[in-house]
């Protein structure tokens, strides 16, 4: 992949990078030329300066939100994966969980945020709860799908070898499920960001959602944009983090660079 280091990477992404820079420049010029007031649409340079200027404020609230997101996500993994294993292995657990989860899934989780804030207060706990609820479902579903994707022949084979259930689980089901599970984790971490921010809009005294709401009420649009940028970077970073973990765990997946088309052997 990174054959020529940074230079190669730049060349590879030249088009998207160029387009991005072009849009920023056009935006800057347009706002300046049309004399659009900052509270409607601030110049990108102004937002950038604000971010540099008030990095301490942004940093503090970023840390707070990131903590909520990660705790919510971690809880949804810690509870979702064992539940999925229960669903795969036990008909009773499956029926009971589906009876609860399926109707529950019809509720937009963000609509539960006001209740959760009522119950858990304005602090960390309520946002963790929203992030957890919204991230939970894709993790359960993807883990169940992954574990059920084992071929019946493989299970016959394993039974015919006298494998203990834990052997079949550790050697076959779990590794088989990992790609699907990581797919679920990626969706879940992105949803956890959404859940946390919505939670902060509804009731909080810290966090990126909170300072954005305050800025919006004060018509401090540059600040609103600053939060959007920080949130985008946070989302990218979390997604990337899960991706890095995925590549560390799933080493056998045929990366495109490894496939050598045309080198066919009988």
């Amino acid at each position: 992949m990174a054959r020529n280091g940074i230079a190669g990477l730049l060349r590879q992404h030249a088009w998207s990078l160029g387009t991005f820079v072009g849009i920023i420049v056009a935006w800057e010029i347009l706002v300046w030329a049309l004399r659009i007031p900052a509270f409607v649409l601030p110049r990108p340079s102004r937002v950038a300066l604000l971010l540099l200027d008030r990095w301490e404020l942004f940093g503090r609230h970023l840390a707070y939100s990131a903590q909520e997101i990660l705790l919510g996500f971690a809880a949804s993994v810690a509870i979702g994966v064992p539940l999925a294993i229960g669903i795969v292995y036990s008909g009773i657990v499956e029926r009971i969980s589906y009876a609860i989860i399926v109707p529950f899934q019809a509720i937009p989780k963000t609509a539960l945020a006001p209740l959760l804030i009522l119950w858990f207060g304005y602090g960390l706990a309520s946002k963790v709860a929203v992030a957890f609820l919204i991230a939970f479902f894709p993790i359960v579903v993807n883990t169940v799908i992954g574990m059920r994707s084992v071929e019946p022949e493989m299970l016959h084979l394993s039974r015919s070898l006298g494998a203990r259930p834990w052997q079949t689980f550790l050697k076959i089901r779990l590794p088989k499920a990992l790609p699907s599970m990581f797919g679920g984790f990626k969706v879940a971490v992105a949803l956890a960001v959404v859940g946390t921010i919505v939670g902060e809009y509804i009731g909080a005294n810290a966090g990126l959602g909170y300072i954005q709401l305050v800025a919006s009420a004060n018509l401090d649009t540059p600040m609103v944009f600053g939060v959007i940028i920080i949130l985008s970077l946070l989302g990218l970073a979390l997604f990337g983090l899960v991706g890095v973990l995925e590549r560390m765990v799933i080493r056998w997946k045929p990366g495109e660079a490894q496939l050598e088309p045309g080198r066919e052997t009988i």
Binding site: E151, E153, M154, H156, L157, S158, R159, S160, L161, G162, A163, Q167, K171, I172, P175, K176, L178, I250, R251, W252, P254, L259, E264, T265, I266
Partner: protein, 270 residues
Amino acid sequence: MTSGRSAVSVVLNQLRKTYANSHSPLIALDDVALEVAAGEFVSIVGPSGCGKSTLLMLIAGLLPPTQGTIAIDGRAIVGPYTDVGFVFQRDVLLEWRTVLQNVLLPAEIKHHPKAASRERALHLLEQVGLAGFERRYPYELSGGMRQRVALCRALIHEPPLLLMDEPFGALDALTREAMGFYLLRLWQDRQKTVIFVTHSIEEAVVLADRVVVMSPRPGRIVQTFTPDLPRPRTQMVKGSAHFHEVVDAIRELFRARGFLIEQPSAGARV
């Protein structure tokens, strides 16, 4: 490497298997009686829906028969018989394991000594022409190579009995023929008992000591053929007049009974 536990005999006595479906029970197998001698290579041919796969599941003790008994080496089978090598139409290799690790899976599950198993695995891979591929992953291999790995996996724990469910059915004709001879070579060295299910009459005759023809729904044994072909068998077998006599006789039986011979998906009729 001529060691390994001795082969086992398999005796099926008046086997019947029905599946309780919603309305009428489906009779998969009816009145199946078969004696397979230790070290014998038996092929089972029949049209689709003759319960061939069900039969293998019953022999392995993975499904209970509705009626009748199965005995391996004189002992009745009531639960999974764990001294068996299984090969299926799909190779079902574990994609996160290398070729060598895939072959070693049964030895790991059975906690066999590591060093000895490893040695045996390397030897098996060499015998099927996969020396040098030990560290490759399944996605790097062709269908024929993958199925040869599955074959080695079925033999690593030295089972006295091999159950093969259309193992080469998904391969192209040339690869399929080559696989048959790889199998014969391995069998020649080890003299396992083999029960080999196939759709292909010619494949059955080339490989087996005895060819059992089954009828569709309910699966019954119609007739047994004993091709008198010399061992070890090579490509030359197909040139002999006797080979063609037996194949024609089985084909005639199929025609007389109105069995449809299924065209394998890969278009691979040997």
